[in-house]
């Protein structure tokens, strides 16, 4: 399987405290790879490191062979990586349409951008209904869809998603995961961080478990009993020392 994303021995620290203590993993092209783990494991730190918002202290992050470490977030987006951040960071005082335009900030093909916006409206009809509404007035689920659509506007080769289910009603979560599967069928490589292990294992082709800044397990769904995965994803094997 050809790897889209290869992460090797990444260490990211806040001051003296290492949140990632040498993480290595890879995400296969055209697949959904999922990263599971309890709170504080360093999942978001990893996502931010890939997207360039945090600078790893050591290690390498390669996208189809080219190094991303050291590039600015803007350059990384230009290289074809888009992150749907945790907590759906939309631009609340900007309209839905402007949010989508912001996602296409680096593109110079304005005709194609307009066409892509129409495609997003076709995929997310509720965004079309609310296109002139301010993003801050949307519901949580709608904001999450907007965040996904905005990330897609950059036409990424790799879509990173950080906890897309966080704080959403179960029915909305199901919808979001439906979209994830659909995007993947259309050929988008997805690297997903999720706390909801049950849902994640339903869509993922491959998954990793992470605890306290380290990858502790790598496998395909089915290799480990689901309740064991869930237990470890929520609690970790090594209980955090108090």
């Amino acid at each position: 399987m050809e790897a889209m994303l290869e992460i090797a021995d990444v260490v990211t620290a806040y001051g003296k405290i290492e949140a990632l203590k040498g993480v290595s993993l890879s995400a296969a092209k055209g697949r959904i790879t999922c990263l599971l783990g309890p709170n504080g494991a360093g999942k978001t730190t990893l996502m931010m490191s890939i997207a360039g918002a945090l600078k790893p202290r050591q290690g390498s992050i390669r996208l189809e062979g080219s190094e991303l470490v050291g590039l600015s977030p803007a350059r990384i987006v230009g290289n074809g990586v888009a992150l749907v951040p945790e907590n759906r960071l939309v631009f609340p005082q900007m309209s839905v349409r402007e949010n989508l335009l912001a996602g296409a900030y680096q593109r110079n093909d304005s005709g194609e951008v307009t066409a892509d916006i129409e495609r997003m409206y076709a995929r997310f009809p509720r965004l079309k209904e609310r296109r002139e509404q301010l993003a801050g007035t949307l519901s949580g689920g709608e904001q999450q869809m907007l965040a996904v659509a905005r990330a897609l506007m950059s036409r990424p080769r790799l879509l990173l998603m950080d906890e897309p289910s966080l704080g959403l009603a179960p029915i909305v979560v199901k919808e979001i995961f439906g979209i994830i599967a659909e995007l993947n069928r259309e050929g988008v490589t997805i690297f997903l961080v999720e706390q909801n292990a049950h849902l994640a294992l339903q869509v993922a082709h491959h998954f990793y478990l992470m605890e306290q800044g380290r990858v502790t397990f790598s496998g395909n769904p089915g290799e480990l009993a689901e309740d064991e995965v869930i237990k470890r994803a929520y609690l970790g094997t090594r209980r955090s020392a108090g």
């Binding site: 806040y14 405290i17 949140a19 709170n39 504080g40 360093g42 990893l46 961080v193 955090s240 108090g242």
Partner: protein, 313 residues
Amino acid sequence: MDDHLIGIVSNIGVISFVALSAYLLLLTGEISFGQQAFFAIGAYTSGIVTAMWQLPFALGLGAGAATGAAAALLVGLPTLRLHGLQFAIATLAFAEAVRILFELFRYQIVRDGELVGPNGIEGFRNIRYIFENDVSATEFMLIIYGLLGATLFGLFLLERSRLGTAFRMIGEDDLLAATQGVAVVPVKLTAACLAGTIAGLGGGLYAHLTTYVEPAIFDVMLGVHSLAYGLIGGLGTAFGPLLGVVIDIGLLESTRWFAGYRMIVFGGLVAVLLIVRPRGLLDEQLVHRIRRAVRRRPRPSPANDTVLGKELS
């Protein structure tokens, strides 16, 4: 010590009062561009008490501190619900208004065949208490540092008290502090009044140190300087602002050979310092580490460190 050095050291002591005043408000999370107003009010009041009414010096200082506190209470009430820039600009507007009021303020009486008292933009001359009562420059310096020491001591006790904790809590997040049972309004008013008292006291000392005050002294420059001291020296303890004053005046004195380029050198140094240490030399972390080293406590376990760090996921 020669007279010039005594003058500089006294100056450092006096300016420290305004710096401490601004620092106290910074603790509660508010930036004031206006502490120089209370300094001015204290200076004029104490000058009037000693030079015009010919009452004892201590009474003058007390009156300066009291009017500083009263004025701070007066401004504190309407500006309580303001935050951040709005609070900063409201205090700036107040202070500038006070300065202009002093430009318009004329109250003079005849003493020894000469007019004494505030004379508008000309200022208030001949606050000659230390000359009339033969207080030497060294003695006056000791008075300044005695009072400064007492104020610092008070602030240290305050920072260890419940009230001090409430200050810092409000500084971090006043909403959260309120949910923890901190009565935000009275605590903030107390902070404002204490800050006003300290500035007023310093003003009284300043007026008697220089023997003259004029409104131009109390413009925004002084306000922003006193704010800058806390940030240059560090916000971790009350020593920070003091260190800031010492650095400022000390650095200015030592960059004297740059003559005409002094401010260029000094401004650049401060900017670079803030890049390296955005919360000042003695910031909270350093103070925390020093305290820990002094107490020789065992290092907390790594698990505790993780809790202190900002983990994202």
